[in-house]
Symmetry: C2
């Protein structure tokens, strides 16, 4: 089995290293990831600039290839140009910081897995809730379990999994919960500052607001010590509203 591993924290992040090592227990791992951190890039593509690829070595052995692009670029380029055959699985992560609620639409981690699903490859994104000194070990173990689940069953075409792991030790995690994307979101409060040359600039700050607390909400599962597994797709059509919209008298 061939597994493509990518992320948005960049190829030098600890999370992708731990993920690649864990995934190697299941098959042949290819790492293709952004050269530098590309968090909050959403589902961006690099169209106006060339993409360059360089090998990254650990202890003289090739660990993976770094691309001067986005997570979505990495998956497209890996599948189309860098791998001999398409992978059987795309795994994106381990992101440092949860990707839940509204925030998943800004997430490069999720966008990479979405790109895999667009290419009809079974795919999942995995993130670990933020903490000052993160241990990615439990999330790496859980990534293997999720991969085994996906291989044992089947994801429908166009559906991928968005997996979030709480910032807990393995034995403190209660298990898995199938969840939905909640309404949690980052509420911006821009700071207006003055630079050394006297010119004003703005910097995004703010805090997270989680308005919904139901048991099936991704953020709730995390808070209650469960791994949140949300099936997501890339059909944005608001179907329940289509009939009413058609009555507007266009």
């Amino acid at each position: 089995m061939r597994i493509l591993v990518t992320n948005d924290d960049g190829i030098h992040a600890e999370g992708i290293y731990r993920l690649a090592k864990a995934m190697a227990r299941l098959g042949e791992v290819t790492v293709v990831a952004p050269l530098v951190e590309r968090s909050a890039v959403g589902h961006a593509l690099t169209l106006t600039d060339p993409l360059r690829v360089e090998k990254v070595f650990h202890d003289g052995v090739i660990f993976g290839r770094a691309v001067n692009g986005t997570p979505a670029d990495c998956v497209k380029l890996a599948v189309r140009m860098l791998m001999d055959k398409p992978p059987d699985l795309v795994v994106s992560g381990i992101n440092h910081g949860a990707n839940t609620g509204h925030n998943i639409i800004y997430s490069g981690t999720v966008s990479a897995a979405t790109e895999g699903a667009i290419l009809s490859i079974p795919s999942f994104a995995i993130s670990r809730a933020w903490s000052m000194e993160p241990d990615f070990g439990p999330a790496a173990e859980i990534a293997v379990e999720v991969a085994e689940q996906i291989l044992a069953h089947r994801l429908p075409d166009g559906v991928l999994l968005n997996v979030n792991v709480p910032a807990l030790k393995r034995e403190q995690i209660h298990g898995f919960r199938v969840t939905e994307q909640g309404q949690g979101r980052f509420v911006e409060a821009f700071e207006a500052r003055i630079d050394p040359r006297g010119k004003q600039y703005y910097w995004q700050a703010g805090e997270t607001l989680i308005p919904d607390r139901g048991e099936t909400i991704d953020d709730t599962a995390l808070e209650e010590g469960y791994v949140a597994v949300t099936p997501i797709h890339f059909d944005l059509t608001a179907r329940p509203f289509m009939a009413e919209l058609a009555e507007w008298g266009w």
Copy 2:
């Protein structure tokens, strides 16, 4: 009425100029847009760099403010910092090139309108199918009609409209059709090239594939000469699959 106008082709693009002029018939227009083209940036945010704002003048009169960020940054910054009160409507466009099918997940134009909806402001994105010498006049007229529809009725919370206008004269356009996001997508074929210093690089190329042809598909409506109006939301949960996923034995 206060209307925020933005885009992803940049504040100097013809499309946003035509849109702003048309929207001025309905109320007070504020233009806040990227300084340079930020197409295919998806729903990206600028978190690691400061945002700077500069006024853009046309004939000595202020046209709008340019931000060194993404379309989503522009909407957040405008609503939180640059406008005295939140706008009553956010309009993003007129993009040069359709935003249909899978491509909407890469679209900065759509992401800006999505940001408006996240902030609970009625919002729509408007794009005009690509052609060599585009006339944005018909799309500007249609933007006014869509705005009037949204104001006369109401969009549900969390729903925005993604509007696409065919590359036709106004009298050739048959009318509006309420549509769904289709499966149309760009199929990449990277070109591997050698730079002047002998190093390899890759450039994204490819062609558009539209596999589904139903009457309610966004691309079909465009091809048949209709304005495609797709209601979209930012809840990515693949709800039909949740029950089956829960049976996987987690």
